[in-house]
Assembly symmetry: C2
Homo-oligomer: 525 residues x 2
Amino acid sequence: MSHSYKDLMATTAFSVLEQLPKIDDMSALLTGERVKGAQVSMAAGLTYNYAAKPVDGAHLGALQQVADEMELVAQYRSLLGGAEMNGGEKRKVLHHLTRGQLGATVNFNGRDLRHFYLEQQQRVAQFCQRVHSGEVRGASGKLFQHVCQVGIGGSDLGPRALYLALTGYANSRGLQRMRASFISNVDPDDAEQVLSSCDLETTLFILVSKSGTTQETLTNVALVRRALVQQGLDVAKHLVAVTSATSPLADNDEYLESFFIDDFVGGRYSATSAVGATVLSLTFGPTIFNEIIAGAHAQDRLALEADIHKNASLLDALLGVYERNCLGYAATAILPYSQALSRFPAHLQQLDMESNGKRVNRRGDVIDYATGPLVFGEPGTNGQHSFYQLLHQGSDIVPLQFIGFKHAQGSLDIDIDGSSSQEKLNANLVAQIVAFATGQGNEDPNKVFLGQRPASLIYGSVLTPQVLGALLAHFENKVMFQGFLWNINSFDQEGVQLGKLLTKQVLSKKINNEVLREYAQLMDV
Amino acid sequence: MSHSYKDLMATTAFSVLEQLPKIDDMSALLTGERVKGAQVSMAAGLTYNYAAKPVDGAHLGALQQVADEMELVAQYRSLLGGAEMNGGEKRKVLHHLTRGQLGATVNFNGRDLRHFYLEQQQRVAQFCQRVHSGEVRGASGKLFQHVCQVGIGGSDLGPRALYLALTGYANSRGLQRMRASFISNVDPDDAEQVLSSCDLETTLFILVSKSGTTQETLTNVALVRRALVQQGLDVAKHLVAVTSATSPLADNDEYLESFFIDDFVGGRYSATSAVGATVLSLTFGPTIFNEIIAGAHAQDRLALEADIHKNASLLDALLGVYERNCLGYAATAILPYSQALSRFPAHLQQLDMESNGKRVNRRGDVIDYATGPLVFGEPGTNGQHSFYQLLHQGSDIVPLQFIGFKHAQGSLDIDIDGSSSQEKLNANLVAQIVAFATGQGNEDPNKVFLGQRPASLIYGSVLTPQVLGALLAHFENKVMFQGFLWNINSFDQEGVQLGKLLTKQVLSKKINNEVLREYAQLMDV
């Protein structure tokens, strides 16, 4: 890499930040005025509120200095412009380009890559039109009513989270075209459960593997093939592939159609590429998919702002680094008060932990400061009845990321005891933020709440496709900025290789390690 | 409480343990012999393997001393005998008694409580027989084919995890009697999604609330009622209640039937009481539910062993405390290599974090040592493609709890490249344990794996109902022993109260807190 980026700890601004007094009484900090003022506008009508974060003006000033000194937005611009920000793999990082053009044209091998991504999106849209109109049908002549995506990791978590997030929205507006299900795990019980609930004659399968060599996915597609053949159905009429143009799966007669991604869109960043486009356009129609894209693109544009008071993703990233590296908090909880976002925390878990769970900087030096936190979460109010006890009264402080919407997606609601379900949901949401931040004293030590648990809140009117796109892009960009801050490569995943290598040894019965051999014997493998 | 229990840090044995040298090279410790030897038999043919835990004979000796000095098994015996081990709430803790009698008879108000739990289980079984035979039918005369449980927290997570865990087992053996779905969140979009996929005429709803006052559940039941009424169906013919005998829901004409629990079974420990019995007996039949119970009871019995080499739950608890309080690890990942256990980590998250996320001991003193860890997880191999990067190469060490089975539940499998899906699954499992423990060097720092990531493995032949029961009881008992070790009350949940209180203020529009008022305004509530 020609440009040598600074480590966080080597910056002047970070040492200033570190030396500022910590906020040891959030009750004093958190006023009504602050709740109204500590906000940043996001795309699609969303707002990022950081009132319950343990920072005052001095901290914010220092965080701005960190952002400036580390040239975080300039690094983002380089990335947009096609610099090889995935240094280890010597690759560009272009998932933003799947949503629209924000910098200069990016060419590769003489090809305008924005054109390439757009072309794939349009090919998907045309294919959907043919499926929805009944021009393309199952082998027995029936209309396709069901899509089943076979993929794992980034080819599963993001698309699945987005699908679940919009099912209620689309259903209640009569916009849902097809149902979707997902097979991911190599455990054959996963495929069995899903296939047993599918009517194969009316099911279109999407095989998603960028490399075309993912063990789990190829194995599961073999199970799908066998099931189709057993029912006398022509496999090639029930299967489309999403893969890279150079993979063994590309332009293969065994598929109805192939849609392409390239090496510049990482799996965990691929929800807005053909990986997400295919299943989401089939289920909800290309218009809704375009709205997701538009929301993400608008949020990507806001991430260009150098001022942290105008750039929620940048500010969120900086606050997270302050909590991780100055306050020593090891985890972050994602708490959407929206059942539609039930698997969004699982997607963010991959996005964040696979991107920033690293211990070597971009120069190849081992670093001695903490990087990516542990990320987990469940929707509220369910989480309240599960792990919130520890968040309130446990030994460690876990910063909290709340997400909420004023209105439900659907129209099923009911007034009980003077309030609707949606009001109850949001009353719980705001009550929790305040309880976590300010706590409560009591004579009985068991009933004492120390407070001092920081939270931010992203809120909007209703979870529409645009809002969902903006939310997705916000977290992608937050994770990107944090990677820049820690000076790590957020776009590779060397940490998954050793397991693959040892798995191959076991399966090929060429184990050169006595310990592995004994473990394999325990499991009869 | 008459008996004054010691704090962990006040024991002689813990100071001995703390001063033992740490294992700083797991590669040297972990031999083939150790993999075969470091095992404890569990119930239902399961085995607990702790070979990849950073302890040698000296540590194990000291852990045994800790167990003895703190009288952990004696405390368990007291609990079984009906002592008020839920001190804050002055209650007995009797979930073990829902599985069988292990100590002397436990009476309350002149009543033998084993008899009470068994009676409820039998009432559930008789009711199921009437539903399955068609004697009890929906209001329009149709057979019930679908159960929908409405509950939250312990009335949802455990039963849901167990239902999902056995669906494949029951399906592939032709034993599934009814399908189940679950409504938990007060978000009206949750109920809308579930209800829109139900045929109400053939759906039996189970309302589960111990207190009979759970806001979320009562609100959701109101939505269910309205939906039934809108379809002209008699609500009382479609609704059963599981509640305490003293709750407003008990023996109410508005329900087809009520089944009872009492105050001595906490929500997160209620899966083997009527809370789990009703939905699991309806879906899989009372025989399968009895097998779950039998597995749990057998594991409860093993937890009476004073010798850590014969008591996996005790040893697991002690190893966890060693990792938490001597090695400083803040989290534990639950990694079942079984898609059927997809929501088992979510159940354990509640079980563990709600039980042991406390900072006050049983004498009411604030304690200064770490208690319950953060618990999270997803099934393998899915997790490998998500957060394992951080587990392998991130800044913090997270101990890992693997779970695996030699055989799949179903029969759908396929050989590809010389191995079945199940073999691939388990090859991945064992490869990961070894990769995490021993790591790998490399010239490129990005490809270095430090290893030293501890793991235990619980394994068995196949995930049957008995195995599932044993697994459930193992973790319940582990959490209980850890609570004894930290000298905290694992059976209350004071940490959920403040949020409830503030929620009420918001909903009643009687907010006496300017900060809360402003947050409420942001959300239009």
